[in-house]
Each structure stands twice: as C-alpha cells, then as structure tokens.
C-alpha cells in the first residue's frame, strides 16, 4: 500500500515539518537581528498563541467571542502581581493565572454560552469591557492607568531568561506546544464534537453531544491560551497596563485570525506574523503606509477567504483533485 503511505508522508511534510521549520527559521532570523526585530517577532509569537486559542473557539467550534482580551488581562495581571509583588516563580505564576482564568471562563461561560450569535458576541464583548474597567479602577491591585512595571522575566528556579533573545526561544517553544495541543484536541473525539457543533447544533445535539457543555469546554480552552499569552506578554515586556489588553487587542487578533486563515492550524501563526511585520515593511511608504496596509488586508480577505494559510494549501500536490461537482439536486 504505497499510496496511503505517501499521502500521509506528504501531509506530514506539508502540515508539520514545513511550518515548524518556517517558525524556527523566523526565530533564527530574529536571533541574528537587532533588538527591535526580536521585540516584534516576540510579540508575534505571543499573539500567535492568543489567536490559536481564539481559533479553537471561533474556527473549530464556530462560536464568536469578542472578549478573549479579558482572559489575557487575567493572565497578564495575575503573573505581574504574583511574580512582581509576591515573588512567585514566574512559571508557577503563569500556570496559576491560567487556572484562575480557566475557572473564570467556566463561571462566565456557563450562562453566556446559552446565548447565540449576536447575543453571545455582545456578552463576550461586554466581558472584555468589564475587565478593562476593573483593571483601571481597582488601582490598589493594578495601579490603574499607571500599569505595573518591573515584572521579572520568565524563568525556572535559578535560571532566568535575562535577555529578549532567550525569551524569544522560550516563546517559540510555548507557541509550538500550543499549536501542537490545539491540533491534537481538534483531531480527536472531543474536537470532532466541536466541529460538529460548528456545522449544525441541532444535528450534534441529536447525536447525543451535549452542545452547551462542549461549547463551554472550548471556551475554557481558548481562555487558557489567552491567559498564557497575557502572562508571556507581562514577562516579555516587563510592563503591563490596561491598554495592553484593551479593545485594540480584540481588533488586532481578529485581523490576524481572518488574514491568516480561520479554522486552519497555522493560520493564527501566519496572521500574527503578517499583521505585526507588514507595517515594518511598509514603513518606507511614509504617509501612504496605512492606506497600503489596509488595501493589502482587504485584498487578501477578498481573494483568499481561507486566509494566507488557505493560499498555501492551494499550492499543488495536495490531495486528489476535488471530486467533480455532481449535478445539484433540485
């Protein structure tokens, strides 16, 4: 049986080896570049983690959340406070913050996810706004607009990732682990149930899938990613403020998701990198920069509805040609 073996090998090469190699290549490129490039690529890795979680909830499960920034804020502030004020081990602070964000997601999601469509979108958007307000008003804990600075870098025990470049290696590892986990979850009984819900809730329900519970689990998974990204941001930059996790984050992450390719494995990674790098490439255009940036985004969304990852998948030697379109039934 050569044919299944070759197709699975080529899929492995195309779906895993190639993208991982590309991610590592970008990392190596950054490691050999100036500090500024390191910072931008680091942000891209953090955003890619955040958007991978968003993709899990929106792409695979087919639900909309405009409030994932709330969980990034929980992670960021959790890590900042626990490791900054209480001198916890940063990695422990990150994990504990994630657990907290997961619990909050479960509590908030339980009533919220009974809502559908626009209502769910609005409820989650409100969640982001509320968290934003809290991070401004609860000055005793968050220092309000001032933000929290002097957050220690990531580290384990005595080992501290003192430089940005060391941090970048860790961020890349987190990202690859995150993508791996998300893919594993998708390609399982659990993930199949989520994708079924995205396709038809009534049909999923009728086959014994507890739709509300599965949606809630997907929401919690996405929140864990968001929280992890928030924590990593805090440790990478050493400073957070309410603005970091504000509405701009929501818009930014949506752009990344749709540009990179919603519902695809590597779309979030490609999207994060593109959205953060594009302005750098366009810098030479001076005042035309924003116009060209917007045009490029719109063009990609029009001509590649599955995003850039979808374009990559179109490059030849994939699958057998699509089956001829059968005559539509009346």
């Amino acid at each position: 049986m050569t044919s299944p073996a070759t197709t699975s090998t080529s899929r492995w090469a195309r779906g895993v080896v190639l993208p991982v190699a590309a991610v590592l290549a970008v990392m190596v490129f950054a490691l050999n570049s100036s500090g500024y490039v390191v910072t931008v690529i680091g942000f891209a890795a953090i955003y890619a983690i955040f958007v991978t979680g968003l993709n899990f909830f929106m792409g695979y499960t087919g639900q909309a959340s405009f409030g994932q920034n709330a969980f990034a804020a929980l992670g960021g502030y959790g890590s900042a406070i626990l490791s900054g004020n209480y001198y916890w081990d940063p990695l422990l602070a990150l994990v504990v913050s994630m657990a907290f964000a997961g619990v909050v997601a479960a509590i908030v999601g339980y009533p919220t996810l009974k809502l559908r469509g626009h209502y769910l979108a609005m409820a989650t958007f409100a969640l982001g706004l509320i968290t934003y307000e809290i991070s401004i008003e609860w000055t005793g804990l968050t220092s309000g607009y001032m933000g929290i600075s002097g957050i220690p870098p990531l580290g384990v025990g005595r080992y501290e990732l003192g430089t940005e470049k060391q941090m970048l290696v860790a961020l890349t590892a987190f990202l690859l682990l995150g993508v791996w986990i998300s893919t594993r979850l998708r390609d399982s009984r659990f993930g199949r149930a989520l994708r079924a819900i995205a396709g038809s809730e009534p049909a999923a329900q009728a086959l014994g899938i507890n739709v509300a519970r599965y949606k809630l689990m997907a929401f919690v998974v996405a929140a864990l990613y968001a929280s992890c990204a928030g924590s990593l941001f805090a440790h990478f930059v050493g400073f957070i403020s309410p603005e970091v996790f504000g509405g701009a984050m929501v818009i930014q992450s949506f752009t990344m998701l749709f540009l990179g390719g919603i519902g695809t494995t590597w779309g979030p990674v490609i999207g994060a990198l593109m959205v953060l790098m594009l302005p750098e490439f366009l810098r030479g255009l001076k005042e035309l920069q924003d116009v060209v940036y917007s045009c490029v985004l719109v063009m990609i969304l029009i001509f590649a509805p599955k995003g850039l990852a979808g374009l990559v998948a179109l490059i030849p030697t994939r699958r057998a040609p699509a089956a001829p379109r059968p005559a539509e039934a009346k």
Binding site: I181, L185, F190, R195, P202, A323
Partner: protein, 262 residues
C-alpha cells in the same frame, strides 16, 4: 400496563400548544420493539412537532413520552439521544465542513468515550477506538451505498446522497429507535426506492424505526403499522391496508391540499 411494557416507545396523550394553536392534541400510540412504524398526515398536521417532543427538542405542553420503560418527557435532547433515541431532521443538517466519513464518525459519539486527556495523550485504548470509529464509519457508508464518497466534503454530495448520509450518521450512534422526519422529501423515484431499501435493511438489522413521510408509496411499501394525524389529532391507526381503506384518512387526504406527488 401490559401493553406499554412491550412497547419500545410509548407516546401518551401528548399535547402541544403554540399560543392558541394546538399542534398536537392528545396524541397516543405505541411503537413495539423491532417495528417499522410510520406517522403520516397532511402538511402542518403536527408530525414534526410530535418528533420534536419525542426527541426532546422541546417538552410537550401535556402528556408523557416513555422510552424503553423510562419516562423521558422534558429531558434535554442530547440526554434522550444518549439513551439511544436518534432522530434526523426534515431539512438536511449535515456538518458541511467535515468529510462524508467524518460526518459518520461524529455519529459514533454516543458509543465512544474520551475527552481532553484522551485527545492529548492518546492512550492505547483511544487509538484503538479511533481505528474502530474509522472502520465502522466506512462500513456504514458501504451499507447505505456511499462507500466511494467517503473522503468527499459532505456538502459536495448530491442532495439524494446527503439524505443517505444522514441515515448512515444516525446509524453510527447505534440507535435503539431511529426517527426519520420525511427522509424522502425532494428525492426522485429512483432515489426514493434506494432509500426505502436502506430503511428496510436498517429495520432488518433490528433497529426500530419511526418514520414521518409524505410519500405514500414509500410508507405503504415499508411500514408495518401507520398512525394518521390531521390537525394535530390522531384520526386512525392500523396496517397499511386498513389505513388505505379508512374513510377519515381518505377524507383528510382528499379534503386537504395534498396531491399525489409534489
């Protein structure tokens, strides 16, 4: 008592009101284990409403549904389904982004297990289970005659085959009772015949089938017993021969908007 002990499904005085409209009016019937039972009636008679109540899509205003000896009235639909009462919808409800085979694999949800930990760590039993899901999906696709289309995107199937896929997907859940809501709607004669054949073979496998259908030729051909609903009320019940000769049924169909074939 005795009689309902025998029945796999017992619908008891089910009434459903939508505001002033009575969509089901004290409907009762029993579906014995192993039967191929049909519910017929003109457009808007309340057949889908009855299916929605039986399957737990919504609870009835009054009345009870007893399945395999347990009262299931008011249970959420996924809980009813996990007991082995699986329904299809009048309008095709495929998982469009999944392949034909994956659609059937989702059907296996009820008879498999494993959540996030199993997905992450894929222990031996989970891998074995996935292989079994794959095997079973292909077998069921062969059973309904879609074996060759297994790797196609589900929404690329012609309509007639989409209906067959829904049956295969429902069978994957290993139903004790299969509810089919107008499975032949929109099919041509040839496709209807293929579907009738599948339904009969499903029943022969030991699956009890409750069928709502407009297509009288299909019903008369496959059903062993028929209940007729008109304006929410059950007006007759019996064998196909009895139903054909029943004066109220003839009146309901001649007086209604029904024509031989749409």
């Amino acid at each position: 008592m005795g009689k309902s002990d025998m029945a796999l499904l017992s619908v008891q005085n089910v009434t459903m009101r939508f505001g002033g409209l009575v969509a089901n009016d004290r409907v009762s019937f029993d579906v014995p284990e192993g039967a191929l039972f049909a519910v017929i009636g003109p457009n808007g008679a309340g057949k889908t409403t009855l299916f929605n109540i039986i399957s737990g899509f919504f609870p009835p205003s009054e009345g009870q549904v007893v399945f395999a000896g347990d009262t299931i009235t008011g249970l959420p639909q996924h809980a009813v389904a996990s007991r082995g009462l699986i329904r299809t919808y009048q309008l095709v409800q495929l998982f469009k982004d999944l392949t034909v085979r994956e659609n059937v694999a989702v059907g296996c949800h009820r008879v498999t297990r494993g959540g996030i930990p199993a997905a992450l760590f894929t222990p031996g039993w989970a891998r074995k289970q996935e292989a079994e899901v794959e095997r079973r999906s292909r077998e069921l696709l062969d059973f309904v005659g879609l074996g060759a289309q297994a790797d196609m995107a589900a929404d690329k199937l012609p309509y007639g085959q989409q209906r067959l896929l829904e049956v295969a997907r429902a069978l994957a859940a290993d139903p004790k009772l299969l509810l089919l809501d107008e499975p032949a709607a929109g099919l041509n004669t040839q496709e209807t015949a293929a579907l009738a054949d599948v339904i009969q073979r499903v029943n022969a496998r030991g699956v009890t089938v409750l069928l709502v259908e407009h297509d009288m030729s299909l019903v008369m051909k496959v059903a062993q017993r028929i209940a007729v609903i008109d304006f929410g009320k059950k007006i007759a019940e019996g064998t196909p021969a009895e139903i054909k000769a029943h004066p109220d049924v003839i009146a309901a169909y001649l007086g209604g908007t029904e024509t031989a074939d749409a």
